[in-house]
Every structure is written in C-alpha cells, then in structure tokens.
C-alpha cells in the first residue's frame, strides 16, 4: 500500500487559515489502512482544527467527507455538490488523491494534509516498512524475494558493501542489511551460488530517470 503520515498541525493550520469553509476529504484506501487519512483521522483533524480556531476566536466551517478512493475521478465526482460551500479543500489522501481533486476542481485551492511516504507493507499493527520503489523492472526473482533497490541504502545490485556489520547496515544499527537478508534467504533456498552471479547494471529508464511514467492498456483504454 501507499503509506503516509499526517503533516504537523502548524503546517496544516498555516495552509487553511485564510479560509472560512474547508472541505476535508479522506480516502478509504491505503491511507485508511495505514491510519493516516481514513474516516477516523478526518474526524480527529477536523476537531483539532475547530478547537484551534475556536481558541483564536474564529469559527471555521469544516465539512468532512471520506471517499472510497480519491485517485479515481468517479469517486472524486461525489464532491461536486459540496464544492460551492467550500473555500478550500484539505485532502488526507496520498499525492495521487490530492492531484485528482486538483485536476477536477481547478478553481479551488487543494492542500495536502499528509506527507505521502512510501510503498510499504505492514510488519505488524502500527508498523509499516518500505518495500518497493517502483523501479519498473523487478529484480526480486533473482534476489531471493528481497528488494535491493528499496531495502539497500545504496541500492547496490551486487552487495553487500563493506558497511554491512553483523547483518545490519552502517547507516543505522536498526536497519537490516538487505544483502545479508538476500544471502540468508538464498542459503535457505539452497541457491548460495547465485550470490556470485554478477547482476548487470540496471536500465534506470524504466524508473523515474526516464521521466514521468504512464501505463496505457490498449485493451482497456477507450
């Protein structure tokens, strides 16, 4: 899923303080699952903002909406009836959601209330870790199911480097060395020999280096 964390209150307050009527929009997908921007976070942020402005002697009108998915125009269309009553939109979705709203409602300022962080998986309740960088050319098949792009600090394709100590990365003793993990896993699979195969330099054009990416499925697109 795409993970996010809420922005600091001061930053959010600074964005919305010029406005009297805010449409606060959550998303019931990834940000809900990572407890950053679902219905509950929307309600909490709404109360927090109202309390803040009440203390300032200002009443602010906040309408709370949580869409099934903010990155789909059909769902975003549900906001159309409420736009007239709003001076600005505050979105708790990931960057995709914020932009979908901005694209649909050109005349209304849209502010992000969360920082979109990474594509990750939940380790356990309340803990998420980065697992994928969307490089566009997956190597997991040859690295024992552990991604050196997302999980090695240096994105080494032929690790480990000299900074690997007792299975941990030199940047932080709490960070696992991805290449140690790859080695352990290959060993468990009986594929130790593979560590000696040199992985050729990666073609980064499939990643961000080739500019903004787009998928067009001719069979689906109309």
């Amino acid at each position: 899923m795409i993970t996010a964390v809420r922005k600091p209150m001061e930053e959010i307050i600074a964005c919305v303080s010029p406005y009297d009527r805010i449409l606060l929009v959550g998303c019931n997908e990834c940000v809900s699952v990572c407890s950053a921007g679902g219905r509950k976070e929307v309600a909490l942020l709404s109360s927090a903002l109202q309390m803040h402005f009440l203390k300032q002697g200002k009443t602010i009108e906040i309408r709370e909406m949580t869409l099934e998915r903010q990155c789909d125009p059909e769902y975003v269309e549900e906001l159309v009836n409420y736009m007239d009553g709003a001076d600005a939109v505050l979105s708790m979705a990931c960057g995709c959601g914020v932009q979908t709203i901005a694209a649909r409602f050109r005349e209304k300022p849209v502010f992000p209330a969360v920082n979109t962080t990474f594509m990750g998986a939940s380790e356990r309740q309340g803990v998420w870790s980065e697992r994928c960088q969307g490089c566009g050319d997956c190597v997991l098949g040859i690295t024992g199911g552990i991604c050196p792009i997302a999980r090695c600090s240096k994105r080494l394709l032929n690790g480990p480097c000299g900074g690997s100590t007792k299975g941990k990365c030199e940047i932080d003793a709490n960070v696992d060395c991805a290449w140690q993990l790859i080695w352990d896993r290959l060993k468990a699979l009986g594929l130790e020999k593979r560590i000696e195969d040199v992985i050729e330099a990666k073609d980064w054009r499939t990643s961000r280096d080739g500019g903004p990416r787009k998928i067009v499925r001719e069979d689906l697109a109309s």
Binding site: S32, V33, S35, G38, K40, E41, T66, Q125
Partner: protein, 1010 residues
C-alpha cells in the same frame, strides 16, 4: 407428572455469608426458588469485614459486593434477614420449617438507605464488634444488602424523633417478631462460625493490653471502611507501629483449657497476608514478624505466597509458640520471649503491636440450631459428614457448606457451597416440560422513527441530592431542553411509590425515552430498565445521570456550582438519550448435553449428579478404565474404604443410562461457543473419530502421582512412595508387620525450586500410613522427617494421635536434606536434628517418600490450547477467580474439578466434582444463551478491510468475510470496544456506546458554545 406440593420446589439456605450467598445464587440460577435467611440485618457474613484477601491481595468489598447485590436482585431468592430457624419437621423433599423474623423497625420496601436517620442519631448507642463503633441505625458498609437500615430498638429512646427524620415513613415503631412456616424440599446450612475471643486466655493480654489485637481487628484497622479509615495506628496512642508481631494458633491446635485441638486452616495465610499488605504499604518503615508452629500454606499457589512474603517482602517468620505477651506499662509496647530450635537460649523482643491469629469456633447458637435441625455434629461441634458424601449431613435432605462443616478459606467455601446447592437442587423434581420463564413485561413498542419524547425524573434522595441543591430548580431548567416532553421531581425515585407514579406518567405522556437524575447505575440501572420494560419500552432507552456520586457528594460545600453541574449533567443525559435506540439482546438455544473430560473421582461425581438431573453426559477417559489416581488409594486418613467406594461409583456410572462412557478416548478438536460447543474425539483402540455436541464442559483430568528419582526411589525396592506403602499395607500386611524401623521423608519433589508448591495431601497420607503401620505392629519405630506438618482442619486430630502413639517427627531444613544410603544391613538415613544440633544416623527397613502430586503438564497444555484456557505456572488449570470462582474457568461454559485444579484429597475432589456439576446446572437451566446487546457492529460499506480490528481484538473475533469486509460475530463479541476505537474507517460502532450518542452528550455539555 409432578405429584409434589408446590412449596416443595423451594430450598432453604440458612446463613448469608459468602457460602450461603453462593449456594442461594446457584440454586436461583438453576431455576429453583430459594429462601435465604440470616440472623443479621444484612447479609455478607465475615468476609465483608476483611480488608484484603489472599493470595491476590484484592480489596474484598469490591469482589464480594456485586455478589451481594446480585442476590438482592434475583427474583427467585426470598431474602429474610434477622430470621432464625425454630423447628424442622418432615423428610427430605418435604420439610416444614418454622422460622422467626425479628423486628427491624424499618420497612424494607420503603427504606431507600438515604442515611438521614444515621446522620441525625449516630451517637445514641454504640454497636461495637471489635474496634467497630457504629450507629444504632446501622448499615455495615455502604453496599449492604438489603439496601436498608435497621434500628436497635433497645437503644432508641425516642421513636417519634426517629420517625420524624425519615422522609419516606419507613420507621415502624410497633414492628413485631413474626413466625411463619416454610415448605421446602431441602436445606443448606451455611451458618459459618465465630472467631475465637482470646480475652479468655490470660497469657496474651487480649482485652487487657490495648495494643494486642486479633487478626480480624487488625483487618478492620487496615480497612479503608474501618474505624481508622485505613490508617494503620495502634489503639493505645494512635501512632503508627514500627514493629508488629503475629502469634499463630491462638486458641487452636492446643489441649489446654479454652483451646480447641483442631487447626483453623486459614490463620497462617491471613497472618502472612496481613504482614505482606503491611509491607506493601509501609515497606521498610514497619518490621513484621510471625511466630508460628507449622507454616500451613497448603492451598493452591499458597506456598509461593509464603516464599514471596519472606523473600520479596521481608516478612520474618520464627518457628516458636511464645508463652506470653508482657506489656511495658509506660510505652504500651509488648515484649515476647521465645526460643528457637537452633538456639538453647531464650530471646526477648519488643513489639509495638501484637496480632493474635485466632481461629474458628462453633458458637453455642449453632449447636442449638443443629439440635433443632436434627443433624449430628462431630466432636468439635461442626456438622458431621461422611468421607465420600462431603456436603451431606446425617439427616437426608439437609446439606452443609463452608465453615459450619470444617474450618476452611473462601475458595473452598465457594466450592462447597456450589456442591451443597447442587445436592440440594437434586432433591427437587424439575419438570422438564416446565414452560420457559414467563415474560412479565408487555411487548415492546417500536420507537424507531418516532421523534424523541424524553421524560426526565430527578430524585432528591433525601439529603444526598436535595440537601445540596434544589431539585425544583433543576426541573425548571430541564423543561427548556430540546425533546423533553415531561419532567418532574420524584423524591426517592427508587421507592415503590415513585416508580408507580413514573410508570403512569410515561404512559400518560407517551414518553419514549427516559432520563433518571439520581444515583449510581451500578446499583440502580437494572431497576429502572425493568421499569421501562413494564411500560413497553426497550430497556436501552433509559439513561441514568449519577447526580449523587458525581456531583452532590463531591461538591457538598459548593451548592451553586453543584446545581449548575447537575443541570449540565442532565443536559448531557437528555442529548444522549435522544440518540439511544432499542437494542436486541442476541440469543441462541442452549445445548443441554455435558462433556466431562476425565473419569476419575471428580469427573464421575460430576457426571452422576448431572445425569441424575436428566441431562445427557459424555464421559471421556483416556485410560481403558475409569477411576483415575484414586483407584490406587486403599484407605483415607479417616479409615474409609476407598476401593469399595470406587467400585460402587464406577459401577453406578457405567450403568447409568444417561451417561455414555468413552474409554481410551482423547479430545482432538473443538469449536463453538458457550452453550453450543462441538468437540471431536478419537475413541477406542481403533481411534474412531466422532463429534459431540454439548453446552458445557467439565474438566476433571486429574494430576499425576509424582515419582522423582530421589532418595534411591526406583533403585532400591525398600524405598517406596506413600501410595506404594498404602497398597502394601493392604496387600501384604505381613511384610509390613515385620518392619521394626521405618522412615518417612516429606516434601520429596515439592516445595523446591522445580516444583515450588505444596502437594497438600502428603502430610495426611504419611500420618495415615504411619497409624495403619502402628496398628499392624505397635512396636514399630516410625520417624517422619518433615519441614512443616500441614494437617489442616480435623486432620490435626490424627497428627496428635500419631505423636501419642510414639511416631517421631523430626524437622529438616531444605539446605540440610536427609540422605538415604543402601547398605548390606538395610537402609540408612542421615538426618540433621536441629534440637539436638547434630546429625542422626537411623537405620530403616523401609523408607517411604511423600512425593505428592504434580500437574499432568502434557494433558493440561494440550487441552488448554484446544479449549483456549489458561494454566497456572506449574501446569494446573487456572480458574476464573482464585477467590470467588474456583470452579469456573475464564471461558464461560467450562468448569474445573478435582486435582486438575490443584492437589486435593479424594473428599475434596468429590466436593469439587459436585460443585462443577452445580455450576454447570446454573448454565444448563437456561433454554437460551443471552449474548447481551453491547456488541461491536461493522458497517460493511465503510470498512476498508485494513485488518486493524482483526489484529486488535483480544478475543480474535473479527474476520474479513467473503464479501471483503470485517465481520464480528455478536455471539463471540465481548463488547470491549477496542476495535471500535481503533477502526481507521470508523466502520465499527459499539452498540450502546455509539459515537453519535457520545457526541450528542458532548453537544449537550457544550451547548453554550455551539
């Protein structure tokens, strides 16, 4: 066809202590009518006077008081305080009992326990049990049941003045004693005992020196509801003591005048508890020291309590029975002179306070009662029962529990109470076709979609509310709140008159929501919920606003602010109740079959009792025959023939047409919910798989006879366990008769780091075998090497007898264990004797090891995983509450009996078997399983299937269903609300505590700001 007269469906319970209350509740829950009488004006007995209870050190009132109000609520219980038995005629199933009720001078129906009378006349007279000065109109403690006062007429000089203060007219100056005849099927005797008054002894200074108190008086001093409000101070000068000493066995285990010979069983633990609680509160500031003879911590996990007390809390224990206590007149300090085994000299120490651990005594009144009941008492004045019928008295149809049977602590009283209730209930023929519990309430009207019409009723509760604020002002204000259709001040809202008026008003004004401004929902919610149901409204449409506890009691000195707060509280109540909606309590039909796991003495007793009530019982035993460990025991300490009892019991079980015995069978899977379980077993030599549907499960899987490889056990066949010796005495008496010298070693494999608990049964089995061996050969020399002799209760009589017959008891310390050697001429035991201060070398024809019991770890572990049940550290099953629910397990529908719970004797296992059956009956008496209404509900449209609820639920209830959203089975939900709080999509609501209700209350609270 039931030919018995209507009255004979009733059971009379005599005595309203914890035992009597438990028995009455069990019977009532099993759909029997109960009359519960107590000579006192409030039920509760001794336990309500204790400060904290071992081994959890919980405050007692918190644990016992809900039980008390529970019994007050039970419709099937007719509670008669201040009532005694005059005469009993008839036979089991058909008794006529004449009872006499003393005048209370207060009408229970009218009294609301407001406390006006106690306030006005507190000092007229003193009511002084120990250190407890109380008023003439006295409730023993705030949660008393019945929730009403009583008047001591002898002390009252002016009844008119007393009548004058009572606003509800509950004072009845011309109250007279009443006599009536009850027609009952069975009687449960639960009169308990008194505590010994040490003032009759001249050596300890009780009653003479102010700083010498009894254990119970010390409890009262420590108790928050006691005379010093929980301040530990000594009576002479009100100063906190720095050194407190306890003297054990005061009046017990003695042969002198005023002593009783038996052991009171509870004093070691209560002295330890008092010392530990003292240490918990004052740590280094107070030194504690206990003088004892044998430390008898034989109950479940009690040995660990002792270890903790000594090692962690620094409670000092000294083995010595001091002769006397001497007061230093100037200081009030007390000196104790004592001697210890390892030191030839006397020592004297000075204490600020001395606590005398006094035990149980049967009062004269109980002896007289026994005569009126026509039951036999044993030589000590306790009700006589037989070895294999532990709760049956000598008169059929009369059963006994608690301390009236023998000295015992609270958990054992609870076990026995449920057993006595089960046995008494078995005297009653229950018509299986009896129509289901009649609904006395009219059908509920559908209020959904109706605009809320809220009725607000405000109590003044005497001075409690009305004394601080003006209720009429509240009522005026409430009229202005939205949706309020009617409001009125109702005086004492919980009185019958007010309730009747409110019911009429609800109907007259078509009210569909009600707010009560009054006292605590904890005590009164059910009462008002019932009132709504009588008006045809769902019981969840009432909101109780606790003005008394949360406002007028705490802001007594600020009436204006208190008035304002009460208004706000009522406003919150009104806003909240507008959002309330009718809730349905879920229910499912109950499966009435019973699964009993384990065919030993406990399991078989439970099975027989339940089958006798017409229930189908599946008895699963892993061995190829029934009997368990008791099959290897030949005789009890009291000399009863165990072999014969076991073969009779086994035959009865096997011949019972309602019991299906499944031998060589093991449990392999399990699912379902309380009241509707499905358990898979593999049975017979071919391990055939079958499934059993059952409503309850009784676990009686027993324990194992311990055989640790110590002291040449298993290497030399002259080294035996007590069980081996028990059999040898019976099977080969000649070889036993030929022995000249025998040594027994106690605590082998128990009370040591690997198995820290006491096995409870070994001291009595050693003495049992010693006495039987002495009977075979009176010249035989028997030495029992021991650490403490734990012959609790009447077992002490046999300990005394053994010493009289010349059995030698030699103490050893764990750091100086005896040593057993095999030589050509026989066995030789080396032991260190503390008194002689040297090593002894004793030759022996046989060495008998008291190896006790250990948990059947493998079995309990397997079953605890299958059934989701907790175990204690040493592998026994862990009951739901070690004090009050010793037979119930934490998963409803599971009950525990016998040595799977903790080591116990055959007699104790029989009791718990019957107790488990009794507890099971309380569940099986119901046709439906009520699942309550406060459960979490998922709105599938909002759910994002994030799994947070799945991970957060402590009971593993939510799951993502086939439609892809979270689903919560109301039958399994415990209503804790964790998922509702954590749900990031706000898709989960906890019924009765929904967000919109809480937010509406906040709207009410902050109405001014919105």
């Amino acid at each position: 066809m039931n030919t018995r007269k209507a009255g004979s469906q009733t059971v009379l319970v005599i005595g309203g202590g914890v035992g009597g209350i438990r028995a009455a509740l069990d019977l009532a829950e099993s759909r029997h009518s109960v009359v519960l009488i107590d000579k006192s004006y409030a039920i509760g007995g001794l336990m309500t006077r204790l400060d904290r209870t071992f081994p959890t050190n919980n405050c007692d009132l918190c644990t016992v008081s809900p039980h008390l109000s529970e019994s007050g609520r039970q419709l099937r219980i007719d509670l008669k305080p201040m009532t005694v038995v005059e005469q009993v005629e008839g036979v089991a199933g058909d008794f006529n009992v004449t009872v006499k009720t003393m005048p209370r001078y207060i009408d229970l129906d009218k009294c609301t326990a407001c406390g006006e009378c106690a306030e006005k006349f507190p000092d007229w007279v003193r009511f002084t049990p120990g250190l407890d000065p109380r008023a003439p109109t006295c409730m023993r403690y705030p949660q008393a049941t019945p929730h009403a006062f009583s008047v001591d007429a002898n002390k009252v000089t002016d009844f008119d003045a007393l009548e004058g203060v009572c606003k509800v007219g509950a004072i009845v100056p011309d109250d007279r004693e009443k006599t009536e005849t009850l027609h009952v099927a069975a009687i449960v005797l639960a009169t308990g005992a008194e505590l010994f008054d040490p003032a009759v002894l001249d050596n300890f200074g009780a009653g003479k020196y102010p700083n010498v108190v009894t254990g119970l008086e010390y409890e009262r001093i420590m108790s928050a509801s006691g005379p010093t409000l929980g301040q530990l101070v000594r009576p002479s000068d009100g100063k906190r003591p720095a050194r407190v000493g306890w003297i054990q066995c005061v009046g017990s285990r003695g042969i002198n005048r005023a002593d009783v010979p038996y052991c009171s069983s509870v004093c070691c633990m209560y002295a330890l508890k008092e010392a530990v609680v003292t240490k918990e509160r004052f740590a280094e500031e107070i030194e504690t020291c206990i003088f004892y003879m044998d430390m008898r911590t034989f109950g479940k996990d009690y040995e660990r309590y002792l270890t903790r007390a000594v090692d962690e809390y620094g409670v000092r224990i000294v083995r010595c029975r001091p002769h006397s206590v001497v007061e230093e007149p100037e200081t009030g300090n007390l000196s104790i002179t004592f001697a210890t085994d390892d030191d030839a000299r006397h020592k004297t120490e000075v204490f600020d306070m001395v606590v005398l651990s006094t035990g149980f005594r049967i009062p004269e009144s109980s002896v007289a009662l026994a005569n009126r009941l026509g039951i036999d008492l044993n030589e000590h004045g306790f009700a006589q029962t037989s070895g294999f019928a532990p709760v049956a008295t000598s008169r059929p149809g009369i059963f006994v529990c608690g301390v009236s049977e023998s000295p015992k602590d609270i958990p054992e009283t609870m076990i026995q109470a449920s057993a006595a209730a089960a046995m008494a209930g078995a005297q009653i023929y229950l018509d299986e076709n009896e129509i289901e519990e009649e609904e006395f309430f009219p059908p509920e009207q559908d209020v959904s979609g109706m605009p809320p019409r809220v009725g607000v009723f405000v109590c003044d509760c005497g001075s409690n509310i009305g004394g601080v604020i003006t209720v009429s002002r509240l009522v005026e204000k409430v009229r202005s709140f939205p949706c309020v259709a009617y409001t009125e001040a109702v005086g004492y809202g919980c009185s019958k008159e007010s309730m009747n008026r409110m019911e009429a008003l609800i109907l007259e004004h078509g009210l569909n929501r009600v707010v009560i401004g009054g006292c605590s929902p904890r005590t009164h919610e059910t009462k008002f919920q019932d009132m709504l149901r009588r008006c045809g409204l769902n019981k969840y449409l009432v909101e109780i606003v606790n003005i008394r506890d949360q406002d007028t009691w705490v802001h007594m000195d600020r009436p204006e602010d208190a008035t304002h707060k009460a208004m706000k509280m009522l406003e919150m109540g009104v806003y909240g109740v507008c959002r309330a909606h009718p809730l349905v309590e879920h229910s499912l039909p109950m499966n009435k079959n019973v699964l009993v796991v384990g065919g030993g003495v406990a399991g078989m007793n439970a099975a027989l009792l339940l089958a006798g009530q017409g229930l189908r019982v599946y008895l699963v035993e892993r061995e190829s025959r029934l009997g368990g460990i008791a099959r290897n025991v030949r005789a009890t300490l009291e000399g009863d023939d165990v072999g014969r009892y076991m073969s009779d019991l086994t035959a009865k079980v096997q011949a019972h047409q309602k019991i299906q015995v499944l031998l060589q069978s093991i449990i392999v899977d399990h699912k379902g919910m309380p009241g509707r379980f499905t358990t898979g077993i593999q049975t017979g030599p071919r391990m055939h798989y079958m499934q059993i549907e059952h409503g309850v499960t009784i676990l009686a899987t027993g324990a194992l006879a311990h055989r640790p490889g110590q002291y040449l056990l298993g290497e030399d066949d002259r080294v035996l366990t007590q069980l081996d010796m028990d059999a040898k005495i019976e099977d080969d008496p000649e070889s036993v008769r030929g022995m000249d010298q025998v040594i027994m070693i106690q605590c082998v494999g128990s009370r040591e780091p690997r198995n820290p608990n006491c096995s409870r049964i070994c001291c009595q089995s050693a003495i049992k075998n010693a006495l039987r061996m002495k009977a075979l050969n009176p010249e035989m020399q028997i030495y029992i090497l021991n650490r403490d002799i734990r012959t609790y209760g009447f077992q002490e009589d046999y300990y005394r007898e053994a010493r009289k017959q010349g059995v030698q008891f030699i103490r050893y310390e764990p750091d100086r264990r005896p040593d057993v050697r095999a030589t050509e001429n026989g066995l030789v035991v080396d032991a260190y004797d503390d008194i002689l201060g040297c090593r002894l070398e004793i030759s022996a024809d046989a060495v008998v090891l008291s190896t006790g019991l250990i948990a059947d770890d493998e079995t309990t572990e397997e079953l605890s995983v299958l059934f989701h049940l907790p175990r204690s550290d040493d592998g026994y099953f862990l009951e739901d509450h070690v004090k009050l629910r010793p037979t119930d397990m934490s998963v409803r529908g599971f009950f525990l009996a016998g040595t799977a719970h903790a080591p116990k004797t055959i007699r104790e296992s029989i009791t718990q078997g019957q107790s488990a059956a009794g507890r099971a009956l309380t569940m099986l008496a119901k046709q439906w399983i009520n699942l309550g209404a406060a459960v979490a509900k998922v709105d599938g449209a909002k759910c994002s299937a994030c799994l947070i609820c799945v991970r957060a639920c402590p009971y593993n209830v939510p799951f993502i269903n086939a439609e892809g959203y979270s689903e919560i089975d109301p039958a399994k939900c415990h209503g804790c609300g964790i998922c509702a709080a954590d749900c990031p999509a706000r898709a989960i609501q906890l019924m009765q505590y929904e967000d919109d209700q809480i937010l509406a209350k906040l709207d009410g609270l902050f109405e001014r700001m919105n």
